[in-house]
């Protein structure tokens, strides 16, 4: 991008703009910036629909949430700004210590989900990328297949499996292992549901980076005296780190904000920050507090992602 203007400058500077030589020297130069400008205009044109879309459906709602977070509960409208005054007390209420255990639990769920997805997803992505052969695309398709059904429906399916009289208890009972296991409303159930739901978000970026890896690197490591374990750790895993970073972000962030899973597979003991926010908009009827909590969660994620990528990123990305 930067090269053509530089060469133009050099040509113009080196050749004295006198006589025919100067004219011919300048002739091929002039159309180029015009061409570049039209390319630039085209690029902007391509971004047009996206810009409109993101402004309407991302930026505007975001501004509304932030605006709500400094409002007051109203009787007719859910949120009011009496006299145009900003009500900051929602934030102090959102930061109330009573929410802290819920927040910690949420982070723990998201972290457990991420670790479980990584442990399950890495071998899966590795095997598909290295040994999938002609089946690669079919296998990837199978991983994406659950997306053809709504997340909500899939969580209901899990509930059907894990319920007191669900499939899991029935099967265990018929095997003589007891049929009164409590699966739902446990931490395990929530992490299971979240892991099931977000595993593809881990597998796909891992696959992308493992697939790109030069298989020759593994041979080179063996050749240099590195055994299988050391080769996996130092070469395969290390070169796939960009995929790991992307997968961790893509799993951790939605898991942090999720409220469907804890609601369907959990109960009062598994309340998360996401379901607490949802409650403020539902039963609680406190939109300003819900908005303030949402803004705080978002700020937490933004800061977290920034710290994470700037610390890991220098080495990896």
């Amino acid at each position: 991008m930067a090269a053509p203007p530089t060469s133009e400058e050099v040509t113009n500077g080196a050749e004295p703009p006198s006589g025919d030589e100067g004219a011919t020297g300048a002739a091929p130069v002039t159309p180029r910036p015009r061409h570049a400008r039209s390319e630039g205009a085209k690029a902007h044109g391509l971004l047009g629909p996206t810009t409109i879309w993101l402004t309407l459906f991302l930026l505007a709602p975001l501004v509304i949430v932030i605006w709500y977070s400094v409002g007051t509960r109203g009787v007719i409208n859910p949120v009011q700004h009496p006299g145009g005054k900003l009500n900051w007390s929602n934030f102090s209420r959102a930061l109330d210590p009573s929410f802290l255990p819920i927040f910690i639990r949420t982070v723990a769920y998201a972290a457990a989900t991420t670790v479980a997805s990584l442990i399950l997803g890495f071998p899966l992505a590795y095997v598909i990328a290295r040994f999938g052969g002609t089946w690669k695309n079919v296998l990837l398709g199978l991983i994406i297949l659950p997306f053809w059904t709504s997340y909500l429906v899939r969580m209901y399916a899990w509930r059907f499996i894990l319920d007191e009289n669900g499939l899991a208890n029935t099967v265990l009972g018929s095997l003589g292992l007891g049929r009164n296991h409590q699966f739902t409303n446990t931490h395990w159930a929530v992490v299971l549901g979240l892991t099931y739901g977000f595993l593809p978000f881990m597998v796909l970026p891992l696959y992308a980076s493992l697939e790109r890896m030069d298989a020759g690197l593994i041979e080179a490591a063996y050749d240099l005296g590195s055994n299988r374990f050391s080769t996996f750790w130092r070469i395969t895993f290390r070169t796939s780190l960009p995929g790991v970073v992307a997968g961790v972000l893509l799993t951790f962030i939605p898991a942090l904000g999720d409220f469907v899973t804890p609601q369907l597979l959990g109960g009062t003991r598994t309340q998360t920050f996401g379901s607490t926010i949802q409650d403020q908009f539902g039963q609680g009827q406190n939109w300003p507090l819900g908005s303030a909590m949402a803004v705080l969660l978002m700020a937490f994620i933004l800061v977290g992602v920034f710290v994470y990528t700037s610390r890991v990123g220098e080495d990896v990305l």
């Binding site: 030069d214 020759g216 080179a220 063996y222 240099l224 070469i235 290390r238 070169t239």
Partner: protein
């Protein structure tokens, strides 16, 4: 074949470092390597030369341990290495794609092997520094492979393998990705480095000139088999087979029937006025058909009336083509016997009587430049059904 190779050299007293014995490797139904046997001596620069798919890289990979032979044995320093994983073999490889670790610096790439072998830190620093100097990359230690040029990456790959001071260094077309000028320069550099470190080099290439320039000895392979093993000058001057004669340099190959035995010379059938004799070969009697090759630069091109010196082979013909090539001029001559021969003449002086297409000419050469090929003539008396009709055209440009 080996006997001719040894003829011009002292017998090699160095111990055998790599011995490949009757090795077979199959991929599906095809034998990529078909009963290959050869020996590489300690400190030797040994090349595998052949077209792509001839089995040279597969053989190299079996020595490295990335493939296991389906038959035969490979010995390294006298020990059978069957089943030994690559990371326990005392060989290192310079890969065609270099396979440098992209997430590691130049220094860490080169130190990788030593660290895996738990060499003490001070020694690692000393050796990595020394080998980076050897490949002239001092000052580049902190760079990542992505920040280096192709030639520099090639040097890192070389240092990374050499620093382990293996018994054998395997090089798989290491210069293939470089442009011509850099390749020539690296050829000389590799030879210098090999002399300095004294490690046995096993070098795979499809570039015949590269193999001739760099190797102490080389093997020419085709379709999974050994065609010839020998010193570069032997392989060039005395090709054993039709394939070797055609693959290395330009060759004239023609078939003829033996008319008589004259002392230690075989006199071949030729049109009146022509004389073609070759040094006698064991077991070839008058009446037999043999295949002969002679290099184009051995042929002298004379005017029709020029006197023919005695004792030389002499063939009359018509000039079909004259191609000026700078250093030399190439003449394509249709002989009266019906063969097409190519002759090179050095452009060492201005020649006015060069001859033009259509003019009569006479080619003369010394009988000892004729080489009788091991494989039988392609056609006798009429071409068999399985003979490739294009074969002759391939061999005679």
């Amino acid at each position: 074949m080996d006997t001719t190779a040894e003829a011009s050299h002292e017998p090699d007293a160095r111990p055998v470092e790599v011995a490949v014995q009757d090795v077979v490797k199959r991929f599906g139904d095809t034998a990529a390597v078909d009963r290959v046997s050869l020996e590489v001596r300690r400190g030797e620069f040994f090349s595998f030369l052949g077209p792509s798919g001839c089995g040279k890289t597969t053989t190299l990979r079996m020595i490295a341990g990335f493939e296991e032979p389906d038959g035969g044995r490979i010995l390294l320093g006298g020990t059978d290495i069957a089943g030994v994983p690559p990371y326990r073999r005392n060989v290192n490889t310079v890969f065609q794609s270099y396979a440098l670790f992209p997430h590691l610096s130049v220094w860490d790439n080169v130190a990788f092997g030593l660290r895996r072998k738990r060499v003490p830190g001070a020694q690692v620093r000393e050796r990595v520094g020394r080998y980076l100097e050897l490949v002239e990359l001092a000052g580049m230690e902190r760079r990542r492979p992505g920040q280096l040029s192709g030639g520099q990456q090639q040097r890192v790959a070389l240092a990374r393998a050499l620093v382990n001071e293996p018994a054998v260094l395997l090089l798989d077309e290491p210069l293939g990705a470089l442009d011509l000028k850099l390749r020539k320069q690296m050829q000389l550099e590799l030879m210098r480095i090999q002399r300095e470190v004294g490690i046995t080099f096993v070098y795979v290439t499809h570039d015949q000139e590269e193999a001739l320039v760099m190797s102490d000895r080389l093997v020419v392979m085709n379709a999974g088999r050994v065609e010839q093993i020998g010193y570069p000058e032997d392989v060039y001057e005395r090709p054993a087979t039709r394939f070797v004669a055609g693959f290395i340099g330009t060759s004239n190959i023609f078939d003829a029937r033996v008319r008589a035995l004259d002392g230690d010379l075989l006199v071949l059938e030729a049109p009146p006025g022509d004389r073609v004799v070759v040094p006698a070969v064991d077991g070839t009697a008058p009446g037999a058909r043999i295949a002969i090759t002679v290099r184009p630069e051995k042929l002298r091109i004379l005017g029709e009336t020029d006197p023919v010196p005695g004792g030389l082979c002499s063939v009359g013909g018509t000039i079909a083509e004259v191609v000026y090539q700078g250093v030399s001029t190439q003449f394509v001559v249709r002989t009266d016997a019906g063969d097409t021969l190519v002759a090179f003449r050095q452009n060492s002086e201005r020649v006015s009587d060069a001859g033009v297409p259509g003019s009569r000419t006479r080619l003369v050469w010394h009988p000892e430049h004729n080489v009788v090929l091991a494989d039988p003539p392609a056609a006798d008396p009429s071409p068999p059904a399985d003979t490739d009709p294009h074969r002759q055209e391939e061999l005679v440009p």
